[in-house]
Symmetry: C2
Subunit: 470 residues, 2 copies
């Protein structure tokens, strides 16, 4: 009997959305345990762990050949040896985001050699949502399978919202610190630095920082059909235009890295110039910034900081590969983390799908983490149901990428589900699916019937096949 973790966490005391497959003696995957814990049970598991690499970031430890407990934990989740995790970390092709002040975080690894990860964005805006709602969205996203969560709050109670989320969250939390900087008053280096330290102390695991958007790139953005569509990017552009100075995130980059290194926070180099429409995709503005992100990668790496590169936005299917190829070349193999890309502009209300298409393709090509898009993109703040739709759509896109990359764990799950389907084991089919609740609610046959209402009993092809084979 062989046991395989297919989704969720691995420690029984946590068990958030855990699923397992058991293989029988003939290696037929047919049994499973399906258990949904509750993300709000997150406990500070890392608080009691040994610290073999005290004072070092995971990158620095890896470079010294030290396998930390975090690396070991992440390796188990991937079904890979810890040496692989160490190697990918040491060479910068992966990150293990785990702020020393976020002991609730279960270690996980993001890199193209590993399972493709997905991020769910939550957070309030000036126009709505409460702390409770945001914590609920986080727990819901994690239970459904989000690998990381970004709190993008820009409204009221940003600190308190984040604190409530962090203390209950078993996955890495990311933020875009420039949003909260505006709460402290004017946008400037000092206010930004203080915000970084405040959030670092709380335990944020990775920061999106738009340090690669240089003043020279503003004219390139103004030529576009939809200009700048990154919130952080547009704030920095306004600041540079008003002060007629270079981006302070660029000029203070080493000081930023010093702070991040202290807590072992990964830097996610933001793409302030990601294209907001098909017409702007793969343009001079986008690739100029990408080149600068590559330069900053080297600086951060030299200082021991783990680096992620942010990318895409709106990119047609035929131009996705160019993005991936250029990112690998310009950013020296650092993991790519993309929003979608959305492969057309014309489907507001369905942009989880337009972007899920691009996400699956860029994931197959080597992108390490996919930032979800909900049906509300371009239209409004997502609610809990939108979070569900976004997470499941991205889990399936990431899984499609894993399948295309030949990941054995991923392939096994498809095979197990399809065997259950062919055997009319409906309950096993649902348990192995990404969203058992929805699948079951759509099934209108009896739970033991050998057909469903789509075809009825006489036209069920699988039922007919079974008869032929008998």
């Amino acid at each position: 009997m062989h046991r395989i973790y297919i989704q969720g966490t691995i420690y029984p005391e946590i068990q958030v959305g855990m699923r397992e497959i058991f293989l029988d003696d003939k290696d037929i995957p047919s049994l499973r345990i399906y258990d949904t814990g509750d993300a709000s049970h997150a406990k500070p598991i890392r608080s009691t762990w040994p610290k073999p690499a005290e004072g070092l970031t995971q990158r620095q430890a890896a470079q010294k050949g030290i396998i930390t407990p975090e690396m070991e934990y992440a390796a188990i989740r991937e079904g890979m040896p810890p040496e692989t995790v160490l190697k990918e970390l040491a060479e910068g092709r992966a990150v293990l985001p785990a702020n020393k002040n976020h002991p609730e975080c279960e270690p996980m690894i993001i890199g193209s050699k590993f399972l493709v990860k997905i991020n769910a964005n939550i957070g309030n805006s000036a126009l709505g949502s409460s702390i409770e709602e945001e914590v609920e969205k986080m727990a819901y996203a994690v239970k459904l399978g989000a690998d990381t969560v970004m709190d993008l709050s820009t409204g009221k109670n940003i600190h308190e919202t984040r604190e409530a989320i962090l203390r209950k969250c078993p996955v890495p939390i990311g933020t875009v610190p420039i949003y909260q900087t505006l709460e402290r008053g004017d946008l400037c280096w000092e206010n930004f630095r203080d915000t970084l330290i405040e959030q670092a102390e709380q335990g944020v695991d990775y920061f999106t920082i738009h340090a690669g958007f240089l003043r020279d790139y503003i004219p390139l953005a103004l030529k576009r059909t939809t200009g700048i569509v990154s919130r952080g990017g547009s704030l920095i552009a306004c600041w540079m235009q008003t002060h007629k100075q270079e981006n302070f995130l660029y000029t203070h980059f080493k000081e930023i890295c010093e702070i991040l290194r202290e807590y072992d926070i990964a830097i996610s180099l933001g793409d302030g110039l990601r294209p907001g429409c098909i017409a702007d995709s793969n343009d001079e503005a986008q690739f100029a910034e990408l080149k600068t992100l590559g330069e900053l990668t080297k600086i951060a790496w030299d200082m021991g900081v783990q680096v992620i590169i942010e990318g895409p936005g709106h990119v047609p299917l035929n131009k996705i590969k160019e993005n991936m190829d250029l990112q690998l070349e310009l950013c020296h193999g650092a993991p790519f983390y993309t929003l979608g890309p959305l492969v057309t502009d014309i489907a507001p209300g369905y942009d989880h799908i337009t972007s899920g298409i691009g996400a699956a393709v860029i994931g197959m090509l080597g992108t390490a983490m996919l930032c979800y898009v909900t049906p509300k993109e371009h239209l409004g703040l997502p609610n809990k149901q939108d979070v569900r739709t976004g997470v499941i759509t991205y889990k399936l896109a990431a899984h499609a990428a894993d399948i295309a990359k030949g990941n054995p764990q991923a392939l096994l799950r498809d095979k197990a589900l399809s065997r259950a389907r062919f055997d009319f084991r409906w309950e096993d089919q649902f348990a192995l699916s990404l969203d058992p609740e929805t699948a079951e609610s759509f099934h209108d046959g009896a739970s033991h019937s050998e057909f469903c209402s789509m075809c009825g009993p006489d036209f069920c092809a699988m039922r007919n096949t079974r008869r032929i084979g008998e």
Copy 2:
């Protein structure tokens, strides 16, 4: 002022879901007419048209160099010269499905040189649905943009349901005649032939016929994880197994083509062996049948019959290209018509998305028509809302493929929508979108506000860009 049709039909007396873009003097696409007619207004427009090619199929006319009114009409809809339509038809790379007895059908062309088309499946099963419901689903699918509709009824009143649909339907109707054959009694050539003639007389525009599934292929199918998943394929397999004879659709293929030629019905060579799970994709069974479909293509072509080749099912992203390449090679360039493909098995309830991903990719690679999949796939009979979700998902997948192929009409629509978005012309944005009603219902800002609740007023990047540019 330049006027461009972007969706729907072109004759003012019909106007089903018609949309147009107007370009101003500076070629800025900003105005539009948005008009939703009602599919149930379909009139027999072709009944008064001249018949320059009396007695000939569209293929035969094209080979003689005759541009029929149908070719001319289809060309206008594509924004292409009728000579291109003629050439693609003559060489078999496209079909123009228009049964002489379906005068309500507005001519359209399916081929890789043209806009990627989508098909919506409707039809009852033994477990439910009425004639009225099915007519309503048809009208709804056409209004939302379905380019063809297949009536896959297997339940009661198949003849009456189809008659009601055909007489109100402005798009080509396809069927799988073997389903109704069972109504006449035993499955056999005589009952099948009589069913073909009955449906041909009514005006069905294309038939799916599983003539390429040979007896030798049964053992290949029985080795699979999920066997045969095509309803028609499984019926033929049962017949071959019971009678220990070769597929009668294969042995009577020329007689079938004679009937089809008389009415100018296109044959859609069915893929009885399409893979039903990732593990069975691109296997021996699938490609053995594809080779036979290629042989049948030549026979049908020689008899003047228009041919479509059916394909995919469940295929991972990394194996899609092999399908397209082999189809082009084995089937001599005949248009490919695929179900999805679904790029993973693990998302029942979301298979419109798992298949929309594969559909966009295979469409980009040259597939001419995409058969939609609804969220109910594998679980139950789709209702009206499922039809909506399926059609819009496939419209966006087909459009993403058109964009990737560089179709100028398609690119213009994205640009027009994105300009409207950047200008905060919310109503234009919705009008240009695939599902204006849904987009508008998701927008929670005021219709003239320069932001939405996703970011709120201070964090709207596009608003900030406009300020920088001022």
